[in-house]
Amino acid sequence: MAGKSSVFDMIGPVMIGPSSSHTAGVVRIGRAAIRVLGGIPDEALITFYNSFARTYEGHGSDRAIIGGLLDMKTDDDRIKTAFEVAKEKGLQYSFKSIGNASVYHPNTVKVNLTKGTKKVEVIGESLGGGLINISKVDGFNADFSAQAHTLIIKAQDVSGAIAFISSVIAQEKTNIATMSVSRKGKNDIACHVIEMDSGLQPITIEYLKSLPWIKELIYIPDIDL
């Protein structure tokens, strides 16, 4: 964890039980995933891997992920009845378990979400104590904690893109905490994932979105707010 622990890590967090890694962390992965999608999904396929694969029912990870996909916070007592809430809101879901996926972190969950014609695939790892890492978005390496404000930009692989984007962010006096870029191939689409200490103004986001070489922009403010 970055920096020193807080008094509220010792007396807290306030959360729905039973487990910070198998319940609270999973809720947060769900909350991060719907921000990538841009809303509550109509359909969700959830795959639990490795340690999650066998224990997801007992730890309530299934209700936790559905609760997160319905935008519930980690201390929302509706998590326990998330399946009923999903029915009311028209969210269809199914679960799958896969063991021995050695490339994945022991506590990994993958969600494939559909909303209208939009589809996303998000892979999240629950690191313990409710902390998470979103490792992949639509097959691109992402690696963000969703604790800070996150910008995901899919753009043409043009030269100067990184410098340009970071200078736009710098104009807002926003500090970049982490930044990573991955691409599927040379001159193909590159995915920029930028974690910032503070948020961006809507006008900056609209400006970046309007650039022709930027194909898609997803802005995820601190998911716990």
């Binding site: 007396i11 487990s19 007992g58 309530g60 021995n100």
Partner: protein, 302 residues
């Protein structure tokens, strides 16, 4: 510069030099490290205490049956039982610690203090202490701040996670926090508070984390009750100025050393101890997901 909670010795020296109560450096630490205001910190801790009290009450009132069925309204049974082994207060203490922890196992709202697996200990002990001694909420808030300071030191020099240090790291740390908080709330000296922490750790050392079927239920729930009892016995001993002999910092060091040499099967993996018993394995077979696709060793997903 605030005190960084490296050792109990350092915490005591800081308080004595500045002539401040034990909770003051904890407030200063949070102000310094996290940029919060004192008032907001006290308010946040009070909110957490209210959630703790609610968890106790929910666990004694609402149906507490876990998905696996292993937890089934035990706290209410203890609370309502006609025969008190020791005293009605002791009976209440035990049932309250069980109640808050049962709420955790049954997907209710709790405060992870320091972890979700140990979320019944501070609620059970402080609720009961407040009732018996008619303490104001402000006093409990200061006690909880002292508890947070205790946990910060244990986190640095041993661990608070069952997966790293076994159950001693979770219920042991929570009991140490509770015991220190109680002695503080009852007007104990710094020496007495730290003695209570040291004695509690001495009583909890070596406890392994061996949850049946990997769930936070058996033996976690009953261990929250026993840890609450130990927190009380240690507070009673420490208040009478009985010395822990081994200084509290060295007790924490022992906890870290034991945690480090504990085998992995005793660290939340559900491979040893109670989890590995015949009945434990039968329960695991019943409650765990069986419809699972196991990938061959060489094949990668996708």
């Amino acid at each position: 510069m605030s005190y960084l909670f490296e050792t109990f010795k350092g915490w005591k020296a800081y308080c004595e030099e500045k002539d401040v109560p034990l909770y003051q450096p904890v407030l200063e630490y949070e102000v310094d490290q996290k940029g919060k205001e004192e008032g907001a910190i006290r308010e946040g801790i009070l909110r957490a205490y209210r959630v703790m009290r609610e968890a106790v009450e929910t666990g004694l009132k609402e149906d507490m049956t876990s998905r696996s069925g292993m937890i089934n309204n035990g706290a209410k049974k203890v609370y309502n039982h006609k025969l008190s082994v020791l005293s009605p207060e002791f009976q209440k203490l035990i049932s309250r610690a069980l109640a808050a922890k049962e709420v955790n196992s049954c997907m209710g709202r709790v405060v992870a203090a320091p972890t979700a697996g140990a979320s019944g200990i501070l609620p059970g002990t402080l609720y009961t202490l407040q009732e018996i001694h008619d303490l104001p909420d402000e006093s409990i808030v200061e006690g909880l701040l002292v508890g947070a300071g205790i946990a910060l030191i244990i986190e640095q020099n041993a661990s608070l996670a069952g997966a790293v240090g076994g159950c001693q790291a979770e219920t042991g740390s929570a009991a140490a926090m509770a015991s220190g908080a109680m002695v503080y709330c009852l007007g104990g000296s710094i020496e007495q508070v730290f003695n209570a922490v040291g004695i509690t750790i001495q009583c909890m050392l070596g406890l392994v984390c061996d949850p049946v079927a990997g769930l936070v239920e058996i033996p976690c729930v009953v261990r929250n009750a026993s840890a609450a009892a130990i927190a009380n016995s240690s507070a009673q001993i420490a208040l009478a100025d009985v010395d822990a002999v081994i200084p509290v910092d060295e007790c924490v060091e022992a906890m870290g050393e034991i945690g480090a040499s504990m085998e992995n099967k005793y660290k939340e993996t559900a491979l040893g101890g109670l989890a590995a018993t015949l009945t434990g394995q039968q329960i695991a077979k019943r409650v765990l997901i069986q419809d699972i696709e196991i990938l061959p060793d060489e094949e990668l997903p996708e």
